[in-house]
Symmetry: C2
């Protein structure tokens, strides 16, 4: 493997000194870029793009051509695991993901197989190794997976949901069935992320997009517990380097102390959190990633720089911060504004390092 | 007016001693009740039901016939104000509310009238006085309105939204236009709630359903500021009694101290908050209302009682707690389970009072 030329992102996750604050954007390879839309049109549909290692590599690298990003992230979807379990993932135009065979009963859960990531999800591993090789050490590559709770919401609801009625019903009426499902998912995610690491992922992020719809005692039992199991099952050293893990529970600000205790290297923050307060609560234990409101990119370049400056000031001096959006970049974002954002992070953060 | 026979709810909001913890349910008059569905079918559509004082009164009282509730809440909708501003509210089957004329430009905001609640919204005031009279002092009647920020999201998006792109764009690109809109809405809500109080509402709740999608500094400027303006403009004494105000920002747990400083009498908590922690933060200043996960009603009677018991224990001894769900009751809730919930609150809370 080529030597890593820009390791700011990995260093910041380990809270080691950096020259400027590293930055990447959730969903940085995506629909707001015309070149992405062109590649996707060539691929056919979204899953075809995920399954083709060369095309997945192409879109992963597109934002790096435009912006001075400090990390690349595998182009894929969190629902590859339920798809490999045989649930029949499909996407309808204008709607979210759906499953032909949702998980509803104890029997559905009992008969659910744990995929063998190396064979059942070999297309993902091929994408990882293809991207890693194409990066040539330019920036590190992030692998990822959904949290067991988040994957379970899609599997039980049969797709996206507004109120999570089906899975909440399962949680309150048949908690043991849900636990069995979550445990299978945790085992699947461990294998999936470890194979990504072996294929070339240099850090991993767990997306717990829907942990925030739980009450605290249920968050601990039904989401955090299984993420902790994953963290403890992950390869932590590869190619002579630490492989840091980032845990991102959207709307999970109030549980930062609990998240910091899982053994992860960093917590993702959405834009509703105050990063300075978050740092004072857990910054002595873990790094923080975030947390610009993606909608701030609708503002003028001056507004964007002001918001970046506010967050940098709130975090304060020293390492331990990976700048990011608090959620995926919106599809109607002007790419020029994304550039203003990325450049502002590097330019305005210099004063907070090497002092 | 008849003498108030059950004033537990009002006393708890003032943190005065009560025999048991009072309880009501957000959306307690609603689709989960077959008798509601029958009345609504007779009315035609949802807004026709809101506009007919006798039918609105009928559905308001329905849950009180079934459950031992400590308060009634006006049957209406938060979008009556934008409707009275001429935006053309309508409901499509299976979808949320929509506006024929969304607010998009500075000109749209400039030309927006502030409704005269007494005349433009007289059907609401008629519903309030009809319900108050029909209650005959059985329990107090709650009036309500949406927060300016929450109303503005519907007005600018043209209906419900998942990602609030249009209003966030306005917030970041034309903040002064949004401020003008919010200020008009605050003035409208003050007039609207004061007329409800004069018509018979004995407490008022402000629903800030979407304040939680803002970052802290924007929550202060674009949501809380205008709710504070409303609180300061409200009638605080009527018929010789204090008229307490409840401010409910969903997903606003982190801002409780700020909410407590507005001058409101109570804060609503969704189910993600720990009520014991909330009490230790602001319980010396305001009362708290909440916070059972509405989905807990999907569980068995034993599960429901366990959850009620957990919340009562978390809040602890003494007054200052109005039990409620953390969000509106779900339409597929078994009414028998709602009864288990209400009875459990009264039965299990006795031990926390008079000691």
């Amino acid at each position: 493997m080529s030597e890593l030329k820009n390791d700011r992102f990995l260093k910041a996750l380990l809270r080691e000194p950096v020259d400027v604050t590293p930055v990447w954007m959730m969903r940085q390879a995506g629909r707001y870029l015309p070149e992405y839309r062109a590649t996707r049109a060539r691929a056919g549909d979204f899953m075809a793009l995920c399954r083709d290692a060369d095309l997945a590599c192409e879109v992963t690298l597109q934002p790096l051509e435009r912006f001075d990003l400090d990390a690349a992230i595998l182009f894929s979807d969190i629902l590859t695991i339920p798809d490999a379990m045989g649930l029949g993932l499909y996407f309808e135009t204008g709607e979210g993901p759906k499953f032909r065979k949702p998980v509803r009963t104890a029997r559905d859960v009992d008969t659910l197989p744990i995929p063998d990531a190396a064979s059942d999800l070999d297309y993902v591993m091929k994408a990882v190794s293809t991207i890693r090789s194409a990066l040539g050490g330019r920036v590190p590559l992030i692998g990822f997976a959904g949290s067991p709770w988040t994957l379970a919401t899609y599997m039980v609801e049969g797709g996206s949901s507004k109120d999570f009625r089906a899975i909440k019903r399962m949680l309150y009426a048949e908690p043991e069935v849900l636990h069995e499902l979550l445990d299978k998912l945790a085992d699947s995610v461990i294998d999936y992320l470890n194979r990504q690491i072996e294929a070339g992922a240099q850090a991993v992020q767990i997306f717990d997009t829907w942990g925030g719809v739980l009450s605290t005692h249920h968050y601990k039992k039904f989401s955090l517990h299984y993420m902790e199991k994953i963290i403890k099952g992950l390869i932590t050293e590869h190619e002579g380097r630490t492989v840091p893990s980032i845990l991102f529970t959207k709307n999970g600000d109030q549980w930062l102390e609990l998240i910091a205790d899982t053994g992860c290297y960093a917590a993702g923050l959405d834009w509703t959190a105050e990063i300075g307060e978050a740092r004072s609560r857990v910054g002595y234990k873990i790094a923080l990633q975030g947390n610009l409101d993606p909608s701030a990119l609708y503002g003028s370049p001056e507004t964007i720089r002001k918001e970046v400056s506010r967050i940098l000031k709130s975090f304060g001096y020293g390492s331990g911060h990976v700048f990011n959006l608090g959620h995926g970049i919106a599809l109607d974002t002007d790419p020029e504004h994304a550039k203003v954002f990325v450049d502002a992070v590097h330019e305005l953060s210099e004063a907070y390092h090497n002092c």
